[in-house]
Structure formats: C-alpha cells, structure tokens
C-alpha cells in the first residue's frame, strides 16, 4: 500500500471518480494547466482533457453559480475555490441556491456538487488565505460540510462526497496537505458522511476536534486517558458518537481553530447540554481561537490553539 500525503490522496480520489463517472467535471481557477495552487488537481487536465477540467476566469460567485447550473443539468461538478476566504463572494450562490435548489424545486432539480477549498491557518500565507469560518457554512440547511483530518479519510470522504446526491463543502486543512503521510489503499473506498471516528480510545475525558486540530490534539493528549473523536463531517454532525463517548467519560473538551463565539463548538456543547447533561462531571470547555480576525504569520501562533492550552483544559476538567 502506498504512503500518500493528503494532496496525493485527494488527487487519486478525483482521478478515480472521473474515470468511473463521466458526469464528474472539475472547474476552478488554475485547476487545469497549473494543477491548482496546491497542485491537488495536477495531471488531471492531461488525463481527462479540457472538457472535463476547466480553467475558469477569476470569478468565485460566477463559477459557483455555473457549477449549480451544471449540477442541475445532470453533471457532478467539482469546484475548487482557491481558499476558504475566497468563498465569501460566492456565499450567496452557496446559501441561496446550491443548498436550496432541491427544496425550492420540490425535488425537480438537485445540486450534487462538491466545493473543495483549502482552509485553516499556519501556512504563512497572505490575508484571507488562512480562514477557518466553517461554522458559517454549518447553518445552511441543505449543505453538507466535511473536513478530513488526514490522507486516508480524505480519499474516502471525498469519494463519498462525490457520490452524494446533495451539495458538499469539502474543507481541506491546508496545514496538513503535506504534513502527514498515511497508507492509502489504491482501490476505491468510502468513508461515510455524517459519522465521526474514534481517533484514539480513552475513558476519562472526551476531546472532539476536526481538521488540522486533530493532529494537534493527538499530540497534546499523550499521557492522558482521553478519547479523541475526529468529527469528519460537521453538518450533519455525529451527535450520537459524541453523546455515547461523553456518557462514558463524563467530561468534554472541544478544540477548534475558529473563533469561539458561535463556532461549531457551541453547537456541540449545546447538544451535549440538552442530551447528556446528567452524565457530565465537569463543565464543557472549548479551546478555540480568540474572537478576532485571523492574523498574518507573525501572530498566528498566538491565535491558533496550542498543545498547552489543550492540556490545560484537560487538567481543568479532570481536576474539577
């Protein structure tokens, strides 16, 4: 089995699905000749030709809208937006149309498109290149939000997203693109959307994380009897897995790199408060970025949650 990084695993998933299904087309800025700004689509233009891999003009709203029209027509477009921060100009298309088309047309049309976009901080990139505003997209009924945390799940989740009948926002943690290598089977496999994964079993505290924070959490919890859940899909999220783990451990720490207020951790905390409060032996704690704009490189280490903050939260709930 080959050791692949996340870029290679995603590339393999795209390539395999394009070979299997002629409805799958790629479009985006620089996805063709250049292979994408992170080279995720490298080689696909050469393999599938200009009809299947479209280098578009620089217009995020326009290409998001075009992908919606393609999906409604019966294709399965995969749109790359170069950075999550550039989806903001396409937000109306995603919110008002992609997520609502099935509902608004009462099932006459559907919108099976995948929007892939790198997200998250810590890559020394310019402004708006390191956003982690995933929660904004989780309040859009009709849109699924998926965040892989490594090469293996990235391939399986992307194949599942590509076969999903509804629109999926696929957030690729940029910091992990080439950081981790894992064994990735050459053959196709699906990682089911909407299911969390126990990344590390434990019994005294549950830690929920996703995306690039998972790697940081797994390092931080060494020496603790912590159960780490990798959420993988934020909407719909696997509340059952979280409740089940909290019922066992009685303690919950949520770690995300987005700002705290109305971050996705709030939804998880509220759900556990509603459904499992009597199992809790300590307050639910969130380890998050502060409520400030994502800074540039010189301040990013003061912004992103670090191992010490995670361990401090663990100590707090364990000693409560």
């Amino acid at each position: 089995m080959a050791q692949l990084n996340m870029v290679q695993a995603i590339n393999q998933a795209l390539s395999q699905e394009m070979a299997r299904d002629d409805r799958v087309l790629l479009l985006g800025e620089d996805v063709g000749r250049d292979g994408g700004v992170f080279r995720v689509t490298e080689g696909l233009l050469e393999r599938f030709g200009r009809e299947r891999v479209l280098d578009t003009p620089l217009c995020e709203s326009g290409i998001m809208g075009a992908a919606i029209g393609m999906a409604a027509y019966g294709l399965r477009p995969v749109l790359e937006i170069q950075f999550l921060g550039f989806t903001y100009s396409a937000f109306e298309q995603l919110f008002a149309h992609a997520a609502r088309l099935r509902s608004r047309s009462r099932g006459r049309y559907s919108c099976p498109l995948v929007v892939r976009t790198p997200y998250g901080g810590g890559i020394k990139a310019p402004e708006l290149h390191e956003e982690s505003t995933e929660a904004l997209f989780c309040q859009i009924p009709g849109l699924k939000v998926v965040v892989p945390s490594g090469p293996y799940v990235a391939k399986g989740l992307l194949l599942a997203a590509l076969r999903d009948p509804d629109p999926v926002l696929f957030l690729e943690p940029t910091r992990l693109y080439r950081l981790l290598r894992e064994e990735v089977p050459e053959e196709e496999y699906l990682v089911e959307l909407g299911r969390a994964r126990v990344a590390r079993p434990g019994s005294s505290v549950t830690v929920v994380a996703w995306g690039s924070m998972l790697e940081r959490v797994l390092k931080a919890v060494e020496g603790y009897d912590a159960e780490v859940l990798d959420l993988l899909t934020l909407n719909p999220f696997d509340s059952e897995a979280i409740i089940k783990s909290v019922q066992k451990t009685g303690r919950l720490v949520i770690v995300h790199e987005a700002a705290k207020t109305c971050g996705f951790g709030a939804e998880i905390a509220a759900t556990v408060a509603e459904e499992a409060i009597l199992h809790l032996r300590a307050p639910i704690l969130r380890v998050t970025a502060p409520d400030v704009p994502v800074p540039l490189a010189k301040l990013i280490d003061h912004y992103l949650p670090d191992g010490q903050q995670i361990r401090s939260a663990l100590d707090q709930v364990l000693q409560y």
């Binding site: 003009p57 809208g65 075009a66 298309q93 008002a96 047309s105 009462r106 006459r108």
Partner: protein, 351 residues
C-alpha cells in the same frame, strides 16, 4: 507614437412593427397567420392573468405579486422562439414566458400565494424556479450551457433578468463566462426602465444595455421590447445561433413596467403619470391588434372572444389553485436533502 484605434463598436436596434401596427415586410418573421394569432392570444392571456393576480392580492387571496403589465411582447415574443426542451432561467417577473411555454396556471398562482410546491416544474419543461435574488440566476444559465455543450445536446439556454440585474456582479461574471467559453446562451434583458424606484439612468451610465455584451466579446442587440415581432425575431436568431454552437447573444428588450414594482409598491412616489401615459399609449397588445386589424384578422368582437377564452382559462386556474389543500407541516422537510439527517428526521417527527 500616435494613438492607435483598437476597437470601434456599433449597437443596433431592431424594430419590425411601428406604433401604428405597420410592419417592415423585410423584417417580419416567417410566422403563419395562425402563429401570429397565437402570439396575440398569449399576450392577452398574460395581461388577463396579470390583472387577475393583482386583484387576487388585493383581495388577500395571494401574497405580494410583481406585475408584468407592459412586458407582454418582450416575454411572449421571446418565449415563443423556444421549445420546451430549451432551458430557461427566469427571474421573478416573466410569467408571460411561463404561460407561453405552458407552465400550469394554478402553480403560477400557488407560488405567489406562498406555496413552494408550485416550484416543482412539470417534467416536460426545463424551467428553473423563480429567482428572487436579483441576477443570481444568470450564472446558473452559464453552467447549464456548459453542461449542454458537454453533453452535445442541441438545446439553447436562456436567462431572463431586468435592467437592475445588469448592475450586479453575477450578471457580469456570467456574461464573461459566456464570452470566454463561447456558450450556447441567450441573455434576455427585460429593460423595463425601473428597478423599484431607480430609473435606468440611476442604474448605468451606458447609452444602452446591449453594448455591455461588446465588452465581453459577443453580440448585443437592442430590440423594441413592445414589438412582439422584433423580440421574436431577435430571440429566434439568437437561439438558433446557440443551438448551432455559434455562441452567446445579449438581447436588450426595451420596454416599460406599466404597473408598480410589486403589489406592495406605489410607483406614484417616484415617477410621473405623464411618463406612464406615454408608455400606455405604446401598449404592446394595442400595437399587435393594429397590425392584425390591418390584415383583416382582428376586430373588437374578436378581442372579446379571445379575452373571454383567456378569462375562462384563468378562472379555472384560480379555482384549481384555491381547491388545492394547504401543505402539511411535513412539507417543511420534504426535499431539503435526499436523506434527512437524524436531527432533521427527529424535528420532522414532532411537527
């Protein structure tokens, strides 16, 4: 070094039928008398439907409604050049196009009555749901045109929007995509000269809207939007061009919104009655009647007959709309996703 002239452009305006109802025989489209009469029936149907919808809103039987009065030629004439296989991406003020393509009248009224089930477009039509967010439907048409070409389908993709939409980014992004990819796409702008209270000159400094196409590298033409033959002729040419792979066209139908923006608006606050009267005298239906009369086809009695038929059709539509049972609470959840999440399924169960 001398300055070099890099480009020059011309914008043409197409007129076939003048206000007296006299047609230019060279430009008159190749339509049978039966087809011309059908155009008349559809325009009158659109007018009577529209008047009824406004009345229904006033009576509290439907919700806010955006009248199409004055735009019948621009809508019927353009949609008459389409087939049911073509893809249509409307805004929200093109009910004349829907009626021309055979969209069920009860569903049109049901939508404005606040019932989303009305947007389930019949399977024989490829019409997208009404789009309320101005101009945001235009990129969808670009995507459908890309898909149609990928599938080698000999269809045209048409999108409707108003003058206000030409100020929006999505319009420009879609126009640019159409030019870059040479898409089989027809942009039909209903320039009714008012976007709620903002007149055309508050929307653009361009002399015409048609010229905007020039910047994107394809043909733009202005037509007299109250001249059903001009609209039909220009649309038919553009649609054939699209089907033949010869690229996009922008058609500006210069017309006039004779009524308020919606039933919730009072246009008297921002425009003069003289202006409205000026355009009322240029009513597109009146002009077609004069033409048909000159051909010995039309008389006031014939109008009464056509109006009576249209009224009966609309009456039946209103009755069917009002006879339909209101949606059940479970409809909130239907079709939100192919498969509801466990949380959504739980929320549905308790409603």
């Amino acid at each position: 070094m001398p300055e070099v002239l890099l480009a020059e452009y011309q914008i043409k305006r197409l007129e076939v039928l003048n206000e007296k109802g006299e047609a230019d025989p060279e430009l008159l489209p190749d339509l049978s008398e039966a087809q011309m009469w059908r155009l008349y029936e559809l325009m009158l149907l659109a007018r009577i439907f529209d008047e009824r919808a406004v009345a229904l809103q006033r009576e509290g039987r439907i919700g806010t409604y955006p009248p199409i009065r004055g735009q019948e030629a621009a809508q019927v004439g353009s949609a008459f050049a389409l087939t049911q296989k073509d893809w249509l991406f409307p805004s929200f003020r093109e009910m004349g196009a829907h009626l021309t393509l055979g969209y069920p009248i009860p569903q049109l009224l049901q939508y404005w009555g606040g019932d989303e089930r009305a947007q389930k477009v019949p399977p024989e039509l490829n019409i997208f749901p009404f789009c309320v967010a101005v101009g945001s439907q235009i990129p969808h048409a670009a995507g459908a045109a890309l898909a149609a070409r990928y599938r080698r389908d000999p269809v045209a993709v048409v999108t409707y929007f108003g003058d206000g939409a030409t100020s929006k980014g999505d319009f420009h992004e879609a126009m640019n995509l159409a030019g870059v990819f040479n898409l089989p796409l027809v942009f039909i702008c209903q320039n009714n000269q008012w976007a709620i209270s903002i007149p055309l000159k508050g929307q653009t400094a361009s002399a015409t809207l048609a010229q905007k196409a020039v910047a994107y590298g394809f043909e733009g033409v202005q037509v007299d939007g109250n001249d059903v033959f001009a609209v039909y002729r220009a649309t038919r040419q553009a649609v054939e061009k699209a089907r033949n792979g010869a690229g996009p066209t922008f058609i500006e139908c210069l017309t006039y919104r004779m009524a308020d923006h919606t039933t919730a608006d009072d246009a008297g606050r921002y425009r003069s009655s003289e202006e409205v009267s000026f355009w009322a005298a240029r009513d597109p239906i009146l002009r077609l009647e004069r033409f048909l009369e000159g051909r010995g086809l039309w008389s006031p009695e014939k109008r009464e007959e056509v109006a009576a038929q249209a009224t009966a059709i609309v009456d039946a539509g209103v009755a069917a709309m009002e006879a339909s049972a209101p949606p059940a609470a479970g409809e909130l959840f239907d079709e939100v996703l192919a498969t509801l999440s466990p949380r959504q399924a739980g929320q549905r169960k308790v409603r």
